[in-house]
């Protein structure tokens, strides 16, 4: 059964062809030797005993031809000709090999060859540009990493670590004169004095001086607090004022820092240090006293 028409009538048109794919609008042919890719009477490689195709392998184009003389020898059926890399020369070669062949096949071969060369050029251009590499993620690995990260986060105890580090730096005086914690310095001095003699009087001294410092704190803080309520504003004021007076007049800075700290602790609602609470109370007391005095005077009068 080798008449083309018979083959087409049975396989291509009516009965089942395993290479045929039907879609809504077209029929496609999956045969690797098909010239156009459609399932037609003129493009079916099974239904044409004289047929030719262009195929591309690793960047090289070949012209495949089949003739009716070799129809009995399937292994020798397709004859392959390598085409030149030069586009025009290759077209000439196609013409030369397919001389006296039907117009349709010649034309379609040249068209196919043109398309193939165009996409080969595109491939070469694209490989020179950036290639995006897709790396597959393993779900198991991802899950494991996530779990380990959570555990590491808990083990890290970041806040504590940062606070400890900052306090270390403060102790080692990397901040210089900005934060003047006299109590710290006093402790040092006192340790030296303790080592010599007179433990009790020294502790008394220490308490006295602490009291003085608090008094200083208390006085200055009242003035500052009246102007500013919010911590952030305090911050800006502090930074701007510090930027203005570039050099460190230590006492002023210290007092401002104290004021900041008291405000800060008030606004943040953390465990209040005794100092600010005391100062706050002092502030209110004084106002109240002032108000009461005239009232009593008037009453007396």
């Amino acid at each position: 059964m080798h008449s083309d028409d018979v083959v087409w009538d049975s396989l291509g048109n009516k009965q089942f062809c395993s290479y045929k794919i039907k879609t809504k609008t077209h029929n496609f042919c999956r045969n690797e030797y098909n010239l156009t890719g459609l399932c037609n009477r003129s493009s079916c490689p099974l239904a044409n005993s004289q047929y030719a195709t262009i195929k591309e392998e690793k960047g090289q184009c070949y012209l495949y031809m089949k003739t009716i003389e070799r129809a009995a020898f399937p292994s020798r059926l397709w004859e392959r000709v390598r085409l030149s890399k030069n586009y025009e020369k290759a077209l000439e070669e196609i013409d030369e090999n397919l001389i006296y062949w039907p117009r349709f096949i010649r034309h379609k071969c040249k068209q196919r060859f043109t398309k193939i060369t165009q996409y080969l050029i595109r491939i070469r251009k694209l490989t020179l540009k950036r290639q995006r590499k897709l790396i597959p993620l393993s779900k198991k690995v991802e899950r494991r990493e996530k779990r380990r990260e959570e555990k590491a986060l808990i083990a890290a105890q970041l806040d504590n670590a940062i606070e400890k580090e900052l306090l270390e730096r403060l102790k080692q005086e990397t901040y210089g004169d900005i934060y003047n914690f006299p109590i710290h310095a006093f402790d040092k001095a006192l340790e030296q004095q303790d080592a010599e003699s007179e433990a009790e009087s020294d502790t008394e001294e220490k308490e006295e001086e602490e009291g003085d410092e608090d008094a200083d704190k208390r006085e200055f803080v009242e003035v500052e607090e009246s102007d500013l309520s919010d911590f952030e504003d305090m911050d800006k004021l502090a930074t701007s004022s510090e930027e203005e007076q570039d050099d460190k007049s230590s006492s002023e800075e210290e007092e401002r820092e104290m004021a900041e700290r008291t405000c800060h602790s008030k606004s943040k609602g953390k465990a209040p240090v005794k100092g600010p609470a005391r100062t706050k109370r002092a502030y209110i007391e004084i106002e109240y006293e002032q108000e009461i005095e005239p009232a009593s005077k008037s009453k007396a009068a």
């Binding site: 950036r130 590491a152 083990a155 606070e163 934060y179 930074t239 700290r261 800060h264």
Partner: protein, 334 residues
């Protein structure tokens, strides 16, 4: 009728008694020694016996705990110290690549490596931040926030340019570092940090990115002051070089007035980045308030030259990418 009925009920009673019996007279009565629950063939019964065994274990554990607590209280001050629980940090095998602060060889290496100009204050860091192609909103916002944190940094859009071509341009414009944030499915998931004039390139996987608005109880926007840098737990040689890389992103002299601190904390090979504002309430107490974005990094590879994925010389690659065991940032775990 009554016979089988009674037998059935007898059997049922027997089986009902069976568990009760077994409860009263556990393993030693009924089972040969060396018997484990898994040898019972019947699934229901096996399950039941397993549950009972588990309950027993729990009871024993509780009883032991109570006994130990009583003993501890009875001894009072003479009690032996509490046993320390084993953690990964405790069990770590001492890694011989740990850097000793007085090590001369390390000091010499560091004085001649690529970061020496930074640490000698010859160069001022200038950072270029960019992303992969077509960044989505989240990545863009993250880049902006990152550029507010790192002083002297600029964000540029990628627009499909090849990194290999960007790098010479950056070098000619005096940038010292290049940060590329890689994006996948609309979230940033990778970070490539490259020290520019010929410096090492580190490729990290980034996770748990939180933008400023997602952080609870955050403070106001970070100001323009130069922050301090804290690097925790970068102990081995590899960790040391990565730590220096991070340090070289920030200007050498922090402005203490700003009271801002950027922390890179390494724990079990995860580097946690946080940005805080601190305030000293007394000399023993400090309060910190988180501003700024936060993220976690995990090192995947460290390359000697600038970014070159094909021909670069890799100093270190994570073992899952390489299939054989390498060092960790802070030492192997025993």
């Amino acid at each position: 009728m009554s016979g089988p009925g009674s037998m059935a009920s007898g059997a049922a009673a027997g089986s009902a008694d069976g568990p009760a019996d077994a409860a009263r007279a556990p393993e030693q009565a009924l089972f040969p020694p060396g018997f484990s629950v898994s040898e019972i063939k019947n699934k229901q019964r096996r399950h039941f016996m397993f549950l009972r065994w588990k309950q027993q274990q729990r009871k024993d554990k509780l009883a032991n705990k109570r006994k130990r607590k009583k003993e501890r209280e009875a001894l009072g001050d003479k009690a032996p110290p509490k046993p320390v629980p084993k953690t990964i940090e405790n069990q770590r095998v001492y890694d011989e690549t740990t850097v000793d602060p007085n090590d001369e060889e390390v000091a010499f290496d560091e004085s001649t490596d690529e970061f020496a100009p930074y640490f000698n204050r010859q160069t001022v860091p200038r950072i270029l931040i960019t992303t992969s192609d077509r960044p989505r909103g989240r990545t863009v916002r993250f880049c902006e926030q990152l550029s507010t944190i790192i002083p002297n940094s600029h964000v540029y859009y990628r627009r499909g340019l090849a990194l290999k071509r960007i790098i010479p341009q950056c070098i000619s414009r005096d940038f010292t570092d290049l940060i590329v944030i890689n994006e996948d499915r609309k979230i940033p998931n990778g970070l490539v940090l490259s020290h520019l004039p010929d410096g090492p390139t580190a490729h990290f996987r980034m996770s748990s990115v939180r933008l400023r608005k997602e952080i609870k109880r955050k403070g106001k926007a970070p100001t323009e002051h130069q922050p301090e840098v804290i690097l925790n737990n970068f102990t081995t040689r590899l960790g040391h070089s990565i730590g220096r890389m991070f340090a070289s992103l920030f200007p050498h002299d922090p402005q203490f007035i700003g009271r801002q601190v950027a922390t890179f904390h390494n724990q079990r090979d995860y580097i946690f980045f946080r940005f805080h504002r601190y305030i000293f309430k007394s000399e023993k107490k400090v309060g910190i308030q988180e501003l700024g974005p936060r993220f976690t990094l995990k090192l995947r590879s460290l390359q000697k030259g600038t970014f070159d994925s094909k021909f670069g010389e890799y100093e270190w690659i994570h073992k899952t990418l390489l299939m054989w065991s390498c060092y960790c940032l802070a030492g192997k775990v025993g």
